[in-house]
Symmetry: C3
Subunit: 455 residues, 3 copies
Amino acid sequence: MLKVKKLKDNATVLDLMLNECYIGEGKEEFIVLNNNVKIKTGEKRKGFIPVRIKKIVPPNKVEIEVVKEQFTVVSEPEQKIRLFLKSDIIRKLEPQIKKAVNLIRNAARNGRLIILRHHADCDGYAGALALEEILISIIEKKNKKIWQSYKRMPMKAPFYEYGDALKDLSYFKEEISFGKKPLLIIVDNGCGEEDLLALKKVKLYDVDIVVIDHHVFAKEINKVVDVHLNPRVAGGEGDITSGMLSYEIAAQIGNPNPIYPALSGVADKSRNEFLEPYMRLAHKDREFLEKLAKCVDFEAYNLRFMESNLIYDFFNEKQKRTMDLILSEVEKRTDERKIIIKKFLKHEKLKKGTLYCLELDKTVPIREYPSPGKTVGIAHKMNKGPRITLGFSKDMITFRIDGVPFSIENALKALKKKIPYGNINGGGHNYAGTIKFIPGVGEEVLSSLKKIIKS
Amino acid sequence: MLKVKKLKDNATVLDLMLNECYIGEGKEEFIVLNNNVKIKTGEKRKGFIPVRIKKIVPPNKVEIEVVKEQFTVVSEPEQKIRLFLKSDIIRKLEPQIKKAVNLIRNAARNGRLIILRHHADCDGYAGALALEEILISIIEKKNKKIWQSYKRMPMKAPFYEYGDALKDLSYFKEEISFGKKPLLIIVDNGCGEEDLLALKKVKLYDVDIVVIDHHVFAKEINKVVDVHLNPRVAGGEGDITSGMLSYEIAAQIGNPNPIYPALSGVADKSRNEFLEPYMRLAHKDREFLEKLAKCVDFEAYNLRFMESNLIYDFFNEKQKRTMDLILSEVEKRTDERKIIIKKFLKHEKLKKGTLYCLELDKTVPIREYPSPGKTVGIAHKMNKGPRITLGFSKDMITFRIDGVPFSIENALKALKKKIPYGNINGGGHNYAGTIKFIPGVGEEVLSSLKKIIKS
Amino acid sequence: MLKVKKLKDNATVLDLMLNECYIGEGKEEFIVLNNNVKIKTGEKRKGFIPVRIKKIVPPNKVEIEVVKEQFTVVSEPEQKIRLFLKSDIIRKLEPQIKKAVNLIRNAARNGRLIILRHHADCDGYAGALALEEILISIIEKKNKKIWQSYKRMPMKAPFYEYGDALKDLSYFKEEISFGKKPLLIIVDNGCGEEDLLALKKVKLYDVDIVVIDHHVFAKEINKVVDVHLNPRVAGGEGDITSGMLSYEIAAQIGNPNPIYPALSGVADKSRNEFLEPYMRLAHKDREFLEKLAKCVDFEAYNLRFMESNLIYDFFNEKQKRTMDLILSEVEKRTDERKIIIKKFLKHEKLKKGTLYCLELDKTVPIREYPSPGKTVGIAHKMNKGPRITLGFSKDMITFRIDGVPFSIENALKALKKKIPYGNINGGGHNYAGTIKFIPGVGEEVLSSLKKIIKS
């Protein structure tokens, strides 16, 4: 017997599934599925009527056919979220995860155009690939050509640039002109001050937006996007990664490769409390994951803005061969970089620990891997104990910190106050981040930052 | 009764309209429309014969069918140009406008491939969009897919680069191999020394070229292109803008949005004599147009080389919402830039007025809006009275001038003479322009320029 | 009577030609063409059976039909190589040339995807176009759309970058997923240390690789690629150019324009022994070829990464007009550059000859033709006698040498040893090359290099 669902009270047109059957009630010329979904049919009907959804044109046009078969009404099961990670923080995020799951699943099932933007680093890729795996499996089942319904685009910058929004809207506009509502997903970028303009621009065109990020966020973000999923909203820190959050979403919808959350946790230095459960899930140890993270990072650097499925060969039966090739290259380059660092890294004693400084413009070849940021990371790992490692160029400082108290937010605030004419901004975490400024204040910023560190 | 036209004496195959009827005269195996257009039919006919044009393959192949219906001969009306702007300068430009109208209209109607290149600033966009609106309306009427017949490409550089010509020719070559003659239109660029090589390259392939510009032009240009429309040819200055000229052309063919000429006039500081009639036409005041110009300029900066119809949302029912979003962003960034300028702008007294100097490499963040040039504009507006504002970097000086006599052409001449080994070039207007040079002569150029200004 | 071939003993599935007939022997359920090619048919046959090849799916699936016609067996003629250049070195390279010919011809005939990568200079273009001409003629005969089977991509860098490999693999992967084996040809790049990573990456996907180069090669290269054709392998030097080698290959398969080897020889300064035979073949004198080389070099500079057939207009009936236009431009720019050089070039006496030095950052406009390297070449030609001309910038030295003993390999070795923290690398020839380093050691490298030169 045909099963027809009762649409939930708060559901909207966007929650309808194509070709599914729902029970409606005839009222004048409408068939009413709930208070939000009333379908004009032109015929006056009474009583309960089963209908099949033939076409959905958001925001509110629905085409149906009345079902003639015998039917039984089933209540749509309350959607349940089963999070893998057991943690207070992630439990608090359940409502956002649920909403993200619904938006993403419905968009894919209904063939809406989805653009998935992600930061081009290891965490960004981990999150994006977890989602991509389940998106592609849904779209392929619908016999749709992938490229008609889905695009993934890595972002080199640590934020969603206005120019990115213009590109995405160029894809979205055709879809919108057909009356369809596209979906934008942003992974490991998207929640900060610098993202707001681009997001607002996209929102002008009524695109659904899901941001999955773990960086410091702008308060306004929650008003701009449909879902902002971020451990910091629930009192957490950056070490519940974008890869972990994306995996939790993807795992509600399909079966993504379980390696992604552990990989991202290793790359972004998650504490053991979060990392270990995911490592057990992945059946991989830290050493292996660290090697893999180096490879993915190198590949991401070189893929730049390419949407390429080559990256999957680090996760399938080709894994060993691709890793062997890339790992030895990364290690060779790291060793070469260490020789440079040994020669040029300067140090001075702090009250507690040591401050290491590297002049990036003089020591890091441009447009070569490892990047200046990675180079500072290498320099930092070459030393031990409480320490700060600063790399500075004419308009940028990037740092790594261990065992020395430091707040990037406070440092930025103090620098902005002291040098208001310096166009100072930046971001990151307390243990690793970046400060940008105009070259005219380079020396002033460096000496002020040193003072902040020493105080 | 069928109306058939008499083809004008100086008309060529390119002036024929597809599916239109013309009267010809049978002579031996030809039907002769005029001295330029003689169609071989293989049959000997005599007397007047009405024909319908079935196919045109430039340079001179025409396929016809003889019309059997009753007909009456009408003389093709003398094409009339009704210019909106009443001004001696623009009246003198009527011949060029007429020729541009004919070339553009015929190319669009006959489905020839058209590439529209334009400077990626407010004036460039204004002119290009005025033309694009009427081009697209013609192409759509012919049921052609737009992208088969038309491409618009913004140019960041202030001239048509040789590399641009190579790209355009790559599109043109397929068309040319089918025996069709494409059309290149260049708006707000294209008339200077630096454009000549690229234009000559395109002309090697016998492409029609229309240049609509208002910058200082190279004398040779008139020999290279088919139409060079420029107020300076008629003794005018740069303040009859590319947007105004393009609008006058477009308005002969269709109904472009009347806001474009006023917008460009505000952006490029046209005198009231030219600006006010267009403002009345647009029913918009200067304050609104200045805000709109800021928005279009910001969008143009971020669109870079994209051919996007997003720009139209500043001119349609979305206007208010797009302007609100972008204007507040532009103003925020302008305010931030002002703080930097206040700190770093230096000044010295001139005999008449003041000279302000800003070291751009130290004060303007790279690849961020506002650009160095815009920053100098902001600095200039922050002061009053007779003044020159110079922004200099290691290989470039950009300036704004008010109330101080200055000739960019004379300054360039003097600098080139004094520093012949400096690779000095540049351009613009007497109130705003740019001088480029090699870093090795930076100080020499700056001190020489100051001397010129002070003298 | 139908001619059927006997497949050679060492031939594999990849050597089979579609629609050709071969003689096989029935053994159980197989028809055996040779020890490598055994086709399962499902029927038990005995004796000699003629078959026609209907489909080839590498690595080893072959579909056949048994031929019913009368037939005669012909032995497949031993493939003969007739090299145009008579020289011991090139004779020693015959095995590699033969293998390259087979790989390239079979790939084209069997419709496998071919990517042709080449250095974007005159030699690189000469070699690539010689091969492209014969590739396109084969593919067109098969009624294939060119772009489905073939892509040519110029490389600006002097090596095959890892990012290039990722792009190429994105094209290759679809082909590979259909079970086909693509072919990568690299001309005038590809044999050095810096190429290895990218080549190994491509080889992970079992792509056939042919490298045609004449630069100093890494020993490992022979193990990585299928063919490494390089005069240095046979004790030659760089003056048997990539254009000459590519021409010799192409001429075994079809009829490429005979101008390419002479053109490349002039561009890369081949000795008369090699150059003159090719000049006679081309019926062109040195003066003409030098002019043409300048034009191709300018066009290559501006085409950048474009795959454009515009370049052929320097070799067909448009040649005179394209050369006239470009040559006068190149000469104008060279004259302008000479004025700068005259002012800024410094010189000091050597024991034998003179050392000329040019500070590139101060004297060469960025992103303008001539490039820094070309500028040093111009400076070098402005002087006579034994001399070294060095152009240096903050992270690079480029040099030209005449009549002064110098070994780039020894110089690099000595610099690396003396300044191990300088990230020093480079390459080229003993008469022209480049040394790169980090800015922090710029002065140290320059003074050490001068010492090496003076010693």
